[in-house]
Symmetry: C2
Subunit: 280 residues, 2 copies
């Protein structure tokens, strides 16, 4: 695996592979990799001739009160994990490389970012779409892979790609879970032992939702209220939101719409904010 | 010359040329072509293996009170002019192709767009950077050509390309003028005979500025005031602004700075708003 720090160098490598008619798969990450990330790398390896992974903890997607500084980092471990997956190139730029002095250009998706995570974190998605746009221009992939755990992120990036005619296939991959069902996340590291146990409440509430949908219930208020009950049966977790929205517009739904429903929630487990979701 | 209406088709053509290691030069226009546009096409032919021109009157860069509907169009004439220059491909999309239902992604350059034309036309540059970003993703050029007449546009697009790591060389080309010095513009068509004669005041005031700079005067207030006098010696024109700014930051300058000064002005000649500028 070759590690690339420089933008021009990465672009020249991408140009070479494209001239050789090789397909490039790209997996953008913020590092501190877990099985969720690695499942994206594996799919990218399957689908493409060559795989680029990026590791960049992107300041533009953290608000001043958020966890940029304490966001977990372990580049040596990440390198080992990526080598084990036969990753071809790791793009690992500095903050100064990505945001030099006088940086002032942003990519914004409007309607889709005003709800859910965007409502709680108003500048978050502008940071995501801007850095992903930059990373696309740097790695020039044919396909890019994102986890469904960040459901709104995936939907927003698909919208950006379509609106800006970005010629890259955006691929969403299933959530990878711990044995007890907790969705894998770099932020799980923040949980103490008691919190870790109670963090399963997000998954349990989504299971309850699936059960209700399977039993034919489609009233979303009924489903949300029963999900709430599941979470309230735990002692630590505090609900930030539980929402049921259209997958395409992200507008709230009164009734479940098959193939077009996202059930999502954000929960504080102690000080740690966790998210999870279910695509119906 | 082949005319392409479809985004995917244009992208596939671009991919082919890139695989063949041919360089692509791109000239984005709003049509109603004049010698200014054609000078860009000629330079693109010189520098590249193949030349793509686009014609698209971009609604996103017009405010509701502006001249979108009456903006001059003559596609048959444009086609002839482009054929004469041996243009290889004309990309000529519809508004629905470029801005389908539910379109909601914008590219914005922040500081550089708050002054000069951006101050008079607050949503203008967001429309420009968004459509140029889209056109870059559609035509995938190695080099793109813009006239210096829209000086701020050129500076803003260079900033966008740098900030978003767009791997395209942005080339600014000299202003092309009528015999009496009026900068070529599709909007000159709006002028009646009397207005057309008086429209030369922009060029005359820039000549005066050049003269003053050459004679060693560097106080920008002095220069602006003498430019104003030139324009006031005409009966129709009304000044919108006369500004002297840094070429890199677009901040106003107290004194002329060699190689980093933009003298620019906007003047209403009757109902028609004309712009012109001088790079020192």
């Amino acid at each position: 695996m070759r590690i690339v720090y420089d933008v021009k160098e990465m672009q020249e490598i991408a140009d070479k592979y494209r001239q050789w008619e090789k397909t490039i798969g790209f997996v953008p990450t913020m590092g501190y990799l877990h099985e969720g990330h690695l499942s994206l790398v594996r799919q990218a390896k399957k689908d493409n001739d060559v795989v680029f992974v990026s590791i960049f903890v992107n300041p533009a997607q953290f608000a001043p009160n958020e966890d940029l500084d304490k966001y977990p980092r372990d580049i040596k471990r990440d390198e080992e994990l990526l080598k084990n997956e036969n990753t071809d190139f790791l793009f690992y730029p500095t903050v100064d490389t990505m945001y030099p002095n006088n940086f002032q250009t942003y990519v914004s998706v409007e309607n889709l970012t005003k709800v859910l995570e965007g409502a709680s974190r108003p500048t978050h998605f502008r940071g995501v779409t801007t850095v992903v746009n930059k990373l696309f221009n740097i790695t020039k992939p044919h396909r890019a892979y994102f986890g469904k755990k960040d459901a709104q992120q995936l939907i927003v990036i698909k919208r950006m790609a379509e609106d800006l005619n970005i010629d890259i296939e955006i691929i969403g991959m299933p959530i990878v879970r711990e044995k007890d069902g907790l969705a894998m996340s770099s932020r799980n590291k923040y949980l103490n032992e008691k919190e870790r146990k109670e963090a399963v409440c997000l998954y349990q509430s989504l299971n309850k939702a699936q059960e209700l949908v399977d039993s034919g219930i489609s009233d979303t208020n009924e489903i949300k209220s029963q999900m709430e009950n599941v979470i309230k049966s735990y002692s630590i977790p505090k609900i930030d939101y539980i929402n049921i929205n259209s997958l395409t517009t992200l507008k709230p739904l009164d009734r479940i719409k098959r193939k077009d429903t996202l059930i999502s929630l954000a929960v504080f487990v102690g000080k740690t904010r966790l998210i999870d979701n279910l695509w119906i």
